[in-house]
């Protein structure tokens, strides 16, 4: 039942308005002065405020101004009842921050209609804001998936996660869900002391944040990591529900989660695919891989995933005989977001030495590709505003994409201009 705070020094008006609005199902609380209204407003927590303009002491305009200064009531609809019909009074109401005005005397039906309209608008606004808040508090999940193993999907996941971490310096988690291999731990040079297996004995509904926090380890880059057990028998016992429950618990704690998914459509895979904001489907330029990718795309379609959510990453794992990208795009009817060059040495070195390409060759072409991939698939709010303390990675991406004019870029531009003038 919507709550209304009515502030008016005239008790006849209070009585009439209260009677009329109560009969329409509203809960009305009245205050006989601006001061009283401001005193009780927090307790009442109204959905809408109706205030008389002309009152002794604090008038309706001042009440409106003061309420607008409080974050809690910055967006609460306010209607000012004006006694006069001159334009200045009406404009004054809007200048003070009111959403609407009504000249006295007014018909109760008109006030009720305006209240209904404002509440409807306010509800829509609240819903939109809640959605934004909800998204703001949830990590952006990128699922890296393939139905064909051995084509570098884990390398892509680990480098992408590292690029995201380095780009934004924001909480980023890499989740290894390729159970039974513990491969990502190897790539990050981490000893597998904890993994998803530690949660196996806890029923999903009893999982809590501390128990999930225990299985998260930290890489020197600040990238957080959950390893997959390297024992296939133990791995069998970790259910999709457990993984889903754990990810739900920790999702508000991170800005980005990169999940390296099993090469199948198991429960764990489906749980993650469902909640992922983006799916990176990895393939190699060979027939078996294209078939597997086509199968995966069909399943995604059947599952009703938004085609925009699916991005194809092509990893050129062959030196010769690769099927041309154009043919792959035609066959899959889907564009390729990233095409990694044939670079077995770099990928192998990464695995063997436990270091990512991003770390070992930060200025190299492949690192740049991962950094640009990370940027273009970051949350829109991050992409659109330059960070307060931009990272080296951000500067590199910015100079590649020429997005924002930074002080350094400005200086460079200035000296270039000076040079042009002095030589011209």
């Amino acid at each position: 039942m919507p709550r209304i705070l009515l502030i008016d020094d005239d008790r006849i008006i209070r009585k009439l308005v209260e009677n009329s609005l109560t009969s329409l199902g509203y809960t009305v609380t009245t205050a006989e002065s601006g001061a009283e209204g401001l005193k009780i407003v927090k307790d009442v927590n109204p959905d809408i405020i109706v205030t008389d303009k002309m009152m002794p002491g604090i008038d309706g305009f001042e009440v409106t101004r003061r309420l607008r200064r409080e974050p809690k009531f910055a967006n609460t609809p306010i209607i000012v009842l004006t006694g006069e019909s001159d334009l200045e009074d009406k404009l004054g109401a809007f200048e003070a921050g009111a959403d609407d005005y009504l000249s006295k005397p007014f018909e109760q039906k008109e006030l009720a209609a305006r209240i209904t309209a404002l509440l409807r608008r306010s509800e829509a606004l609240k819903a939109a804001q809640n959605q934004i808040e909800e998204n703001k508090n949830k990590a952006h999940i990128i699922a890296v998936h393939t139905l064909r193993g051995g084509i570098g999907s884990s390398s892509i996941a680990v480098n992408l996660a590292m690029a995201l971490q380095n780009l934004w310096n924001m909480p980023t988690l890499l989740a290894d869900l390729v159970m039974g291999t513990g491969q990502l731990a190897l790539m990050l040079n981490k000893t597998l002391t904890t993994s998803w297996a530690n949660l196996e004995s806890i029923p999903p509904e009893e999982l809590d944040l501390p128990s999930v926090a225990k299985i998260i380890s930290k890489h020197p880059s600040n990238l957080h990591f959950i390893g997959a057990p390297n024992d296939p028998i133990i791995a069998e016992r970790v259910s999709g529900e457990t993984i889903n429950a754990a990810i739900s618990l920790i999702r508000p704690r991170y800005q980005y989660i990169v999940a390296d998914l099993p090469h199948n459509f198991s429960n764990a895979t489906l749980e993650l695919l469902d909640i992922a904001d983006q799916i990176f489907l990895v393939l190699a330029p060979d027939m078996a891989s294209i078939r597997a990718a086509s199968t995966a795309l069909n399943v995604y379609k059947e599952l009703g995933y938004d085609p925009e959510k699916i991005k194809i990453v092509l990893n050129n794992t062959f030196e010769f005989g690769a099927i041309p990208t154009k043919k792959i795009v035609t066959a899959l009817k889907h564009g390729v977001i990233l095409e990694l060059p044939y670079a077995p040495k770099q990928f192998l070195n990464g695995i063997n030495r436990g270091t990512t390409i991003i770390e070992s060759d930060p200025e190299g072409k492949i690192s740049t590709q991962f950094e640009l991939l990370a940027f273009s698939n970051s949350q829109e709010t991050h992409q659109s505003i330059p960070p307060a303390n931009p990272s080296l990675t951000w500067h590199r991406v910015n100079s590649h994409l020429n997005l924002f004019e930074t002080p350094a870029a400005k200086k460079k531009q200035k000296s270039r201009t000076r040079l042009l003038f002095s030589t011209g």
């Binding site: 006849i12 009585k15 009329s20 002794p56 005397p105 109760q108």
Partner: protein, 124 residues
């Protein structure tokens, strides 16, 4: 010089206008609520009229604006259209501190006000 006619609105006409106005918002509750509203008016109205008179006597434009505005508001909300209009004239005088016109208007305000009070006293 503006000369105001001190003729008052007949009670049946006041009642008719008031009923038309209030029934709009009160509906069936009009008969039940009218005595309660009349009682409030009987309590607050004379206080406000007294404040108008004092403001004119003390030539205080701010006090005149507040008191005439308040009586106008209560009267208009009750559907007492003529009395609200008289109060509006007095309120307008406060804006230019025209106390001469306000003084001239007061007998009309008081006459109409007394008529309303008399009608309300019969109800409660």
């Amino acid at each position: 010089m503006t000369v105001f006619n001190a003729e008052v609105t007949p009670k049946n006409e006041i009642m008719q206008t008031m009923k038309e106005w209030l029934s709009e918002s009160l509906g069936d509750a009009f008969d039940i609520m009218l005595p309660e509203l009349a009682e409030m008016y009987l309590e607050d109205g004379p206080v406000l009229l007294g404040e108008i008179k004092s403001a004119i006597a003390e030539q205080d434009p701010k006090a005149l604006k507040e008191s005439s505005h308040a009586l106008k508001g209560s009267s208009a909300s009750m559907g007492l259209a003529n009395l609200a209009q008289h109060c509006q004239v007095v309120e307008n005088c406060s804006k230019t501190a025209d106390f001469a016109t306000a003084t001239m208007k007061m007998p009309q305000v008081e006459a109409e006000f007394n008529q309303v009070i008399s009608l309300f006293q019969e109800m409660v």
